[in-house]
């Protein structure tokens, strides 16, 4: 196993038992190494760090207001540039899906447009989990949240596509259930200059409604049913990641019902919505497959 032995978070954090985000954070910090500055907006990650006075991360962390993640990262990069340290030290913004798709999108877009040399990692638990499961732009179709008690109306926002349209050098998706894939993506992103964006699916036991022990299983099902394709886009060229490669064939994908049935938030789904999901996944993959074919020519 080529994962680093060194840990950058101390045990005894405030994250829930079986938290997908805590696993992502732990693996990502292993890949990034000690010369990293983190900037974190209000999110579950702020909760993970603990009460004022103590912090569970060994690296420098800046806690910022919700909307300013991209801007604060730009500020840190500018000050590092001024000191001539920007090649050595990596700046990473770690935000949740609410802080990325809804509230923080303007500062992220601005930072990407300016070409700030930083990594933006979005862990996507598909709602505002630390305030008590409110709907976000990333909540999938039909999912329960306290603000959508009958299930959400639309599909989730395709954030990697929006960031790709900024023409940034590296965009990737990852999942908490594949730590080695996640580790490789963070290591790769650290070597590239310019804005980098990584979108990671983070299963959440209390918000999604499943037993904490199933976190890895559910993340894996999301990839196996084709709901969450893992890919990288480097300088406009897309490559499927290893865990997702064989699911480009429709026959090999598991039925989406298997994924939906494992979670209480999809309890009220009817057959129409399940069909809508099948259509959504087929459209998603035909777009990916067409793009891969076009780029091979």
């Amino acid at each position: 196993m080529d994962l680093k032995e060194e840990e950058f978070i101390y045990p005894g954090t405030r994250a829930c038992a079986g938290c997908g985000m805590a696993l992502i954070y732990r693996i990502a910090l292993k890949a990034l190494g000690p010369k990293t500055i983190l900037t974190v907006p209000a999110s579950c990650l702020t909760v993970l760090h603990g009460m004022q006075g103590f912090c569970s991360t060994k690296l420098s962390v800046l806690h910022t207001p919700f909307a300013t993640t991209g801007a604060s990262a730009s500020g840190i990069v500018a000050s590092l540039d001024d000191k001539g340290l920007s090649d050595e030290i990596c700046v990473v913004a770690f935000a949740g899906d609410g802080g990325t798709t809804d509230i923080g999108i303007q500062s992220l877009s601005g930072a990407a447009e300016r070409g700030t040399n930083f990594i933006y990692a979005c862990y996507d638990n598909e709602a505002y989990m630390n305030t008590g499961v409110q709907r976000s732009g990333s909540t999938p179709l039909g999912a329960f949240s306290t603000t959508t008690p009958m299930g959400k109306d639309g599909h989730k926002k395709n954030m990697p596509k929006i960031l790709e349209a900024h023409g940034i050098p590296y965009v990737a998706t990852a999942c908490a259930s594949y730590p080695l894939d996640l580790y490789e993506k963070f290591q790769k992103a650290r070597e590239i200059k310019g804005p980098k964006y990584i979108h990671i699916l983070a299963p959440c036991p209390p918000g999604w409604g499943y037993e904490p022990k199933d976190t890895i299983k559910i993340g894996r099902l999301a990839v196996e049913t084709g709901f969450w394709p893992l890919y990288e886009i480097e300088n406009g060229r897309m490559t499927l990641s290893r865990p997702s490669k064989k699911y480009s064939d429709e026959q090999k994908r598991k039925p989406i019902k298997e994924y939906l049935e494992t979670q209480k938030r999809f309890k009220s789904l009817d057959n129409n919505t399940v069909q809508n999901y099948e259509q959504y996944i087929n459209d998603l993959w035909s777009e990916v497959n067409q793009r891969l074919e076009r780029e091979q020519e």
Binding site: M1, L3, E5, E7, I9, Y10, P11, G12, T13, R14, A15, C16, A17, G18, C19, G20, A22, L23, R26, H49, G50, M51, Q52, G53, F54, C55, S56, T57, K58, P179, L180, P205, E211, P212, K213, D214, T215, I216, K217
Partner: protein, 115 residues
């Protein structure tokens, strides 16, 4: 800086080993005066108290693949000097991911009250 604030700083400026644990503070007024936080294990106290089921590794049958170590969200599973994997029960929250993901099924979740 006033005197009580100076004393607060003396407490927090020690090395990680000498620094008081979170649970040793009586209330928030003893916390450092400015919003800066220093790294410490157990920033949320002894999270082992949250546990209902305790993971127990069967070390004689374990093939030491390290998959439990890789998937542990807390990072409480560590290799000891003999090369066996050990769980830090002071902070393990008992989520059961290690027991579910173990390929040889050598981790068992046992109820805390029966231990």
């Amino acid at each position: 800086m006033s005197k009580p604030e100076e004393e607060k700083w003396k407490k927090i400026c020690k090395s990680k080993e000498e620094r008081p644990k979170v649970q040793e503070y009586k209330n928030w007024t003893e916390l450092p005066p400015i919003p800066i936080s220093l790294p410490l294990d157990g920033s949320m106290g002894r999270t082992g108290d949250w546990r209902t089921f305790r993971p127990v590794i069967n070390t004689s049958e374990c093939n030491k693949c390290g998959i439990c170590w890789m998937y542990c969200p807390e990072g409480v599973i560590q290799k000891n000097e003999d090369g066996d994997y050990e769980i830090d029960l002071e902070y393990c929250k008992g989520c059961g991911i290690c027991a579910t993901e173990c390929p040889t099924k050598n981790i068992e979740m046992k109820r805390e009250s029966e231990m």
